[in-house]
Symmetry: D2
Subunit: 337 residues, 4 copies
C-alpha cells in the first residue's frame, strides 16, 4: 500500500501516522518528492482500512499494491483449485454442467428432469427449495419438503445436489446437500457467509447484481477466512441500464477472475439473460471464454407449460445446448498463471 | 394487469389461460383488436407472477396497472404514516435528524457524541454495534457490548436509539433498541425481513445499492405483510459509474416514494456521498426536496482523528449543518395526495 | 401500439384523442374493460411519439407492439444482410476479422502491421486517422495524412480499410475509405448519421457506452432512412460500475440483435475490455456467441513498446488469437429466423 | 503524476522510461521502496497519457496528483467565474432561471410562453429549434425558422436566448443567439467542441448521460483550450438502472463541480426526471444544493394539451415553482474555496 501525502504535511503529522501504523505492525518507508511525500507500507496490509487512511486530512490518496484478499488470492495459490463433489470435479481443467428446474415442484418433476439432464450430459442437479422472491406474495419454494425431494432425486440418479440457502438457521437441513448455493442477493450477507465458513460444504457463491469482482472475492474470503476453502464462483449477470436482457452477463469477469484467484468459476446464463432463446448462445460463449462450468435451468411439464419461467429450457432444448457446449469446450480459452 | 397476446393465438389457448387465472380467483375480460388480443385481469393481481405470464408462448407482453404492493401502497393508505418513536414523530409533516457515530467505540465516545448532536438539534441517536464490512479482516463492530453502550447513552440523554441488525438471530439483543436499521446489503435478505415483520419494532429500511424503488417498496411489503407497519424508508445512494462520489444520491426517489407510498422517507447523505465536504449541501438539498428526516454520521475524537471515516463530520460541522437544515426546512417541497 | 387510459376518462376526451390520431393516419379500436379503457392503434406507428402520448393527462401507459424501426427490422427483412466490401463479405454466415493499430503513426508502421495481420487471417485493415480523445491535449491522430497512409497500405496489401469519421465535413476525404466507422461517442450524433445516410459507403456503427440496443438500432435507422442500407453493427462494451475492465462487454447483445435485425454484428473486445490479456478469451467468446466478425487492435513496434496502448496485442499474440478464433468458429451459436 | 513500477524492473528499463519522459519535458524523481520503485513526474503532466503509461510492461499503476484540466481547474482560477449574458449574470452568487418550451412551435407559442416565464421570474428564454431525437421519424424541430422566432421573442421581451446546436456547420445561424447549448448526446462531439472554442459565445454544456464529472470538465476544457472561457455547466441526469425516473438527477455533482472548477453549474430537472410532478421538488432541491441556476421546460397551449411532453409544466405551475425556488434560494448551500 502506498500513501500519497498532501503537500504541506508537517513532519510531526507524518510521525503520528507512522507510529499509528506501527501499532498495527505495519512498517513504513518514506520518500520525499519535489511536491509530495509518499509513504510505502510494509507488512500485512489486508487489515488496513483504505477508506480510513484516505479520510485523513494529510492524505491525498491511497493506492493498494496487493489485493485485500489472501485465501482467495492466486498470488499465494498458484495452482487452480479443483473442487471435488462426490467424485465430480470442477476447476483445473475439469468442466461440468449443473442443470435442473428453477424450483422443485413435485417428486415426479424433479426425478424426470434429473433423468433427462443427466442423460444429456449434466453431472450435477440443481433445484430450488428455498426461493428468494421479490414479492412476499410469490411462491417461496417447498422448503424442507423440497430438500427431501432433491434427496430422492439424488438417490435415484446418483447426481450431487446444488441448492440455495437463504438463512444460516437452515444449515442442519442442508446436511446431505452437496453444494450450497449463496444467491446474488445474499452475496454480502456477511453473517451467513461466516456460518458457511465454519462448514466443510462446497459453496457456490453467486455474484451480486451490483457487486464488483473485488467485492465478490472478498465475500469468498469471508467464507475462506472461516476455514472453508471449497468455493465455486458463479457469474450470473450484473444490473445495468439495458432492458432487452434481464441482466448483463459479464463474461469479461472470467479472465479477471482467472488472473486474481485460483477458485473455479461457473456461469449461469439462464438467470443472467432471462429469456430462453438467449441461453444456448450465451452458454456456448461462456464455455468458449473458459468457464469451468455452467448452470442451466431446465423444466419439464410439457402439458402445463403455464408454470415455467421465460428463462427455462425444455429438456429437448437442453439436449441441443449440451451438445453444442461439449463441441466448443475443446476450443475454449486457456489460462495459465 | 393487462396481457397482450401474440397474433395467431388460438381460442383454445386463450381458454386455457382464462381457466388457469380463474383458479387464482382472477377474472378476465377479452378484447379483440385487429392484430392482437388483449386480456384484462380483474381481482387481486398482487399474487400473479408477471414473469411467469410473460414467459408463456402465447404472450407478447404484460403490463401492470396496479402496483404489486398493497400494505405499502398510498392508493390504499392516503394519509401519510406518522411513525412515533417514544414521542419523537417522523412523517406526516414531522421532520427529524438522526445523528451519531459510524461505530460505537467506547462509553465516552458515544455519550459525548450523543450530547453534542442532541444539543445541535438531533432527536435520535445512531451508532453501529454490528457492522457490515466488505472485508472479513476489518473491524466488525463491538456487537452486544456496543448495544449496551447505546443503552447507556439513551439513559443519559433520553434519545431513542437507531442501530443496524445483521442477523435475525440477534433480535433478542435488540429488545430495547427503538429503531432497527436494515442495511442496504440486507434489503433483500427476505428471511430477515420476514422475522422483522413479526416484531412491533420501528424498522428503518435502507435502499439497496442496485435496487429499484419498486423493489425497495416490495421489501417494505415483506415486513408489512407480516403485520409490522412501522417502516421508515432510507435513501442512501445507488451504484453508478461515477467515481467522484461513493454512490449517487438519488433525491428524485423522494417525489416517487411520496407518490407511491404513505411511508416516511429519510435520507443518509453521509453514506451516499462518502466525503464529508459533500454532506452538508446534500443534507440541505434532501431537506428541501421534502425528506422526512436525515441520518448523519458524526464523530468526536478531535485528538485521535486517525480513526474517523472520510464521511463523518465533527460535532462543530454538525452544528452548522443542523442550523442550515432547520433554516431551509420551512421552504421544503410539499406533497399532497 | 396499445394505449391504456386512466379510469374516469370521459368520452369526449377519447374522441379528441381518436381524431388527433386520425390526423396522423392512425386508426383506432376501443376496448372497454371493467376499470380501464384500452385503445389499440392501427397503421404506421413508427412516427407516433410514445413519450408524448404517455404525457397526456388521460393516459396511464403506452405499450409498443411493433418496434419503432423499419429499415433495420428483421420482421420486414427476414434474410440476413450480407455486406460486401470489395468482395470481402460480412453477415449471413460470413465471418471476418478486422485488425490493425489504434492510430496510424507512420508508413512503416501501418504497412508492417497490415502485412502481419493479413498473414494471420485478418481480411480488413483498421487504423485511426482522426482520433476521439477525452483530453484536448492528447494526440488527435494524423488526420488526412493518416488517411493517405491507409490508402498506401491498401494498395500494398489489397486489404479494404476501416477508419473512423468524426465530422461529416470530412466526408470528401473518406472517398476511398471502404468502411466508415462511427465511434461510440458519435452514435447519437444525428446530424452526422443523416449525412452518412446520403452516401453509399459501408458504415460500421459502434454502440454508445450508455445506449440501449433499441437506441443503437434507431441510430442505424437514421442512416438507413436516408437510403444507405450498408450497416455493420459493432458491440464495444457498455459503461457499468465494474472497474476491473474498462467497459463491460455485452455479448448478450448478439442474440438480441440477431432477433431484432438482419444487420450483421461484429465485436470489438480490445476497446471493451481495455487490457490485452482479456482480448483473446473475449474474442473467442464473441465468436462462439455467433458474432459475424471481430475488430482487434494490433500494434508492432517491439523496440518502442512505450507507445502502445494497454489493449493492443503484438502481431505474435494476434497470430495466436486468430488461430483460436478460427478453430472455435465452426462451433459458434447459430441463429435462424 | 506518480508511477508505481512492478517489482523486478531493471535499471535499464527505468532509464528508458526517464529519457522518454524527458523528451516530453517531464522531470522525474525516483524513490526505491522495499518491494517497489516509485517515479514521481514533475512538470506539465496534462499531456501525459495515463493509459499509455499504465500499459507499459514495467508499470504496476499510475496515479494522477493533478487533474488533467487546466483552464477549467479551480486550482488555477480560485474566483468563481461570473458569466455575463447581456447583463444577466450567472455564477459567483448570481442565480438565474432559464425557462421556455421544449421546442419552438409558433410565433404565438414562443412569445406567450416567454411573457409568462419572464413575469414569473425567469431571466433567460430557452426553446429548441434543432432537436436531437432518437427516432429519424420524430419531429426534428423548426430549424432556422425556429431561430428566427426566438429572435422575435427576444426583441419582444428583452430576454436572452438559450438554444441547442447540433452541428458546427450551423454556427452562422446562431450569430444572434446568446447562449449556445451543447446537448448531452454531443458532450463528447469533440469536433464541435473545438469549433465552439473558436467563438466568443456563452456555451451551456450539458453532462452526457453516461459521463463522469471528470469527462464533463475535459469537454469544457476542449472549448476553453480554444480560447472561449464562457462556459456554464448543466447537470441533467445520468443513466442508471432505475426506471421510475427518466434519468437519475445527480445533485451530488454540485459540490464536486464547485470544488474542482470555477465554472458555474445549472440544473435541468425537467429532462433529468421526465415527469412534471417531480420537477418542482427537484428544482427546489437543486437550488438548495447551491446550483447557480435552473433550466425548466414550460409549455402553454391549454387547448391543445396533446402536444406537450410529460416533463413540461404549465405557466401556472411554473409560477409556483419560481416562487418556491426564490424562497429557498437565500438558504442554499454555500461554497468557499
Amino acid at each position: 500500500m502506498v500513501v500519497l501525502l498532501k503537500s504541506g504535511t508537517k513532519a510531526e503529522q507524518i510521525e503520528n501516522l507512522k507510529s499509528w501504523l506501527q501499532g498495527m505492525n505495519i512498517g513504513t518507508y518514506i520518500s520525499e518528492g519535489t511536491s509530495h511525500t509518499i509513504i510505502g507500507l510494509v507488512g500485512d496490509t489486508s487489515m488496513v482500512d483504505m477508506d480510513l487512511l484516505r479520510s485523513l486530512d494529510i492524505v491525498e490518496n491511497v493506492q493498494r499494491i496487493q489485493e485485500p484478499f489472501k485465501n482467495a488470492n492466486r498470488k499465494f495459490h498458484n495452482e487452480d483449485l479443483v473442487v471435488d463433489i462426490n467424485g465430480i470435479k470442477i476447476g483445473g481443467g475439469n468442466f461440468q454442467i449443473i442443470a435442473g428446474p428453477c424450483s422443485v415442484e413435485s417428486r415426479e418433476q424433479i426425478i424426470e428432469v434429473a433423468g433427462r439432464v443427466k442423460a444429456a450430459g449434466a453431472n450435477l442437479l440443481r433445484g430450488g427449495a428455498f426461493k428468494p422472491r421479490t414479492s412476499p406474495y410469490a411462491f417461496q419454494g417447498m422448503g424442507s419438503d423440497g430438500l427431501d425431494l432433491l434427496m430422492e432425486a439424488k438417490k435415484e440418479t446418483g447426481m450431487p445436489i446444488v441448492t440455495e440457502i437463504m438463512n444460516a438457521v437452515h444449515l442442519p437441513l442442508f446436511e446431505n446437500v452437496d453444494v450450497i448455493q449463496v444467491g446474488a442477493r445474499n452475496m454480502q450477507n456477511f453473517e451467513m457467509l461466516k456460518e458457511l465458513g465454519k462448514t466443510d460444504k462446497v459453496i457456490l457463491l453467486k455474484r451480486g447484481l451490483a457487486n464488483t469482482i473485488d467485492e465478490w472475492l472478498m465475500s469468498a474470503e469471508y467464507i475462506m477466512a472461516g476455514g472453508n476453502q471449497n468455493i465455486i464462483l458463479c457469474e450470473r449477470g450484473i444490473r445495468t441500464f439495458e432492458t432487452r436482457t434481464r441482466n448483463t452477463l459479464d463474461l469479461g469477469a472470467i479472465p479477471v477472475v482467472k488472473k486474481l484467484t485460483h477458485l473455479p468459476i461457473v456461469v449461469d446464463p439462464s438467470h443472467a439473460l432471462g429469456y430462453s432463446y438467449m441461453v444456448e448462445p450465451m452458454a456456448i460463449a461462456a464455455t468458449a471464454a473458459g468457464a469451468d462450468g455452467l448452470m442451466i435451468e431446465v423444466h419439464n411439464n410439457p402439458a402445463k407449460a403455464l408454470c415455467d419461467g421465460p428463462q427455462s429450457l425444455t429438456p429437448d432444448a437442453f439436449d441441443e445446448l449440451s451438445k453444442a457446449v461439449y463441441a466448443v469446450r475443446p476450443f475454449a480459452a486457456k489460462y495459465e498463471y
